[in-house]
């Protein structure tokens, strides 16, 4: 148990720090903080022009969605980079608890996603006159946490596919952009065609954003409990699918001696 906890916390931290082997702090600031800031500004101004919703709709949608940047890209790199950098075989040769190994990698990216999202809300307050009642903050923080965990689970799934696929970063990029379209970030899912709404409702983020918007407009947490629970369940389903694929590709890779072949 102690060993599994050590793998969970220490392994996850080391994996996160390993990213900074090539991601420098300057790159982190420009990518993780600069890009979300301009994404929020871009869609809020576009919304002001199209007049389909008010500023709060776009600010909340995008400030929650930007957490997915860390959750998806980070998680994909956290798993798939082991193969890219040639460390997958030694890692899987260890007797380390696989579930701890797998889930431990998620923790830093969840924290990172929360920071990015909080930054998004803070700059919206500073630059776009976004305001939120102080009493709504805990509920919003909880919703963002659940949504970030859920998006990280999707990142785990894509990262696991990266143990087999040749160019998983293409998939990660594509999924990230498609979430902007399907998950109600800038267009309410009700306004999308039926099939797009159905896809969006099966993805992480959609229910979290809906819940965050309601809380931002003054609804108590109890009123959005169903949405938050749905978001959590979707995340759980993606995490389970990701872990199953992780194990499957590990076993297949061992059987075929193809863990690090491309």
């Amino acid at each position: 148990m102690t060993s599994a906890l050590r793998v969970f916390f220490v392994g996850g931290t080391i994996s996160y720090r390993a990213l900074f082997n090539w991601i420098r702090p300057g790159m982190y600031v420009t990518t993780m903080l600069g890009s979300p800031l301009f994404q929020i500004l871009f869609f809020t101004y576009l919304g002001r022009y199209t007049r389909n919703e008010d500023d709060t709709f776009f600010i909340v949608g995008n400030a929650v969605q930007v957490a997915a940047m860390s959750s998806i890209y980070g998680m994909v790199m956290g798993i798939a980079n082991e193969r890219q950098f040639g460390t997958l075989s030694p890692l899987l040769a260890t007797p380390a608890n696989r579930l701890a190994l797998f889930l431990g990698r998620a923790l830093p990216f969840i924290a990172n996603g929360l920071v990015v999202s909080a930054f998004g809300f803070a700059v919206s307050w500073a630059l776009l006159d976004f305001s939120l009642a102080r009493s709504d903050l805990p509920a919003l923080a909880l919703i963002v946490l659940v949504t970030t965990v859920s998006c990280t689970a999707l990142g785990m799934l894509i990262g696991s596919i990266g143990l087999r696929a040749r160019d998983v970063f293409f998939a990660a990029n594509l999924v990230y952009f498609l979430m902007l379209l399907f998950c109600g970030v800038n267009v309410a899912v009700d306004d999308l065609p039926g099939w797009m709404e159905a896809v969006g409702r099966a993805l992480p983020l959609t229910h979290g954003i809906e819940a965050a918007r309601e809380v931002a407009s003054g609804a108590p947490l109890g009123d959005v409990g169903g949405l938050v629970a749905t978001e959590a369940l979707i995340g759980l389903a993606y995490a389970a699918a990701g872990y199953v694929l992780f194990r499957l590709f590990e076993l297949e890779g061992r059987r075929r001696a193809s863990l690090e072949t491309f």
């Binding site: 420009t30 500004l41 199209t50 952009f177």
Partner: protein
């Protein structure tokens, strides 16, 4: 010289077209952003804007491919180990680099084609353009001016190891500040001053005026050409300086 230019442009065009990343940013990403913008326009009941959106999203794709392609051009040459060879070759380095940056802007044309096809196939958008001659001039003028802007990016980003971080940072601001989907009149006044120095501002004006009619397409095309010349001069000066310093310090291949 013409052969070198053409061979370089064609080689990089084929090379970039084989990259999944560039397929993503020049084909799929513009369609996704065009769809988002279209749904936003539709639910906001802005009339007659589908072609406006398609062209704006198409130019967003040209900017993205130029930004990521040209911004990382020299770094990629370093990683592939070809930078020393092309710098040591008898041909001026500028003549090797310009076809590359123009190729990154050219593959952005996929974006325009894709977003127009997307509008036509999925939303029945009519493709009736006003005087076709203006569009036939506006498109290459825009691509060349963005390609030369790419040269300027390549020659300045080379000074920084984390050039890709700048690329990530600059995508949205230029989309916003050049009026590709959001009119400049909606932004703070100082943004307009910045936008005048950016080729996509004039490129989208030229293309929209040529495609939709109205506006001064030839004036905007002229501004594209003028800015292209400025970018070329600045890019050449910066590149010469980079080459001189890299040779003197023996840092050409250092990443």
């Amino acid at each position: 010289m013409v052969r070198l230019f053409y061979a370089g442009w064609l080689f990089h065009l084929k090379n970039l077209s084989n990259s999944l990343f560039f397929v993503l940013i020049s084909v799929l990403q513009p369609v996704i952003f065009a769809s988002i913008a279209f749904f936003m326009y539709r639910s906001g009941q802005r009339p007659g804007t589908l072609l406006y959106v398609a062209l704006g999203a198409g130019l967003m794709g040209i900017w993205s491919s130029t930004l990521f392609g040209s911004g990382g051009a020299i770094q990629w040459q370093r990683w592939q180990g070809t930078l020393e060879i092309v710098v040591a070759a008898p041909a001026p380095f500028l003549l090797v680099l310009v076809p590359l940056t123009l190729a990154t802007a050219t593959i952005g044309l996929y974006s325009i084609v894709t977003t127009l096809l997307w509008g036509r196939v999925f939303f029945g958008m009519p493709l009736a353009f006003a005087p076709p001659l203006q569009l036939a001039v506006a498109l290459p003028a825009t691509v060349v001016s963005l390609g030369l802007m790419g040269l300027l990016l390549a020659s300045t980003f080379v000074l920084y190891r984390q050039a890709s971080a700048f690329s990530n940072l600059l995508e949205y601001p230029v989309w916003l500040a050049t009026g590709l989907l959001v009119p400049l009149s909606l932004l703070p006044g100082w943004v307009t001053w910045i936008s005048w120095g950016l080729a996509p501002t004039w490129g989208i004006k030229a293309i929209r005026s040529a495609a939709l009619g109205g506006g001064d397409a030839w004036g905007a095309i002229g501004m594209c050409v003028a800015l292209g010349v400025v970018y070329l001069i600045l890019g050449a000066v910066f590149m010469k300086n980079f080459e001189r310093l890299a040779r003197r310090r023996a840092t050409l291949s250092l990443t």
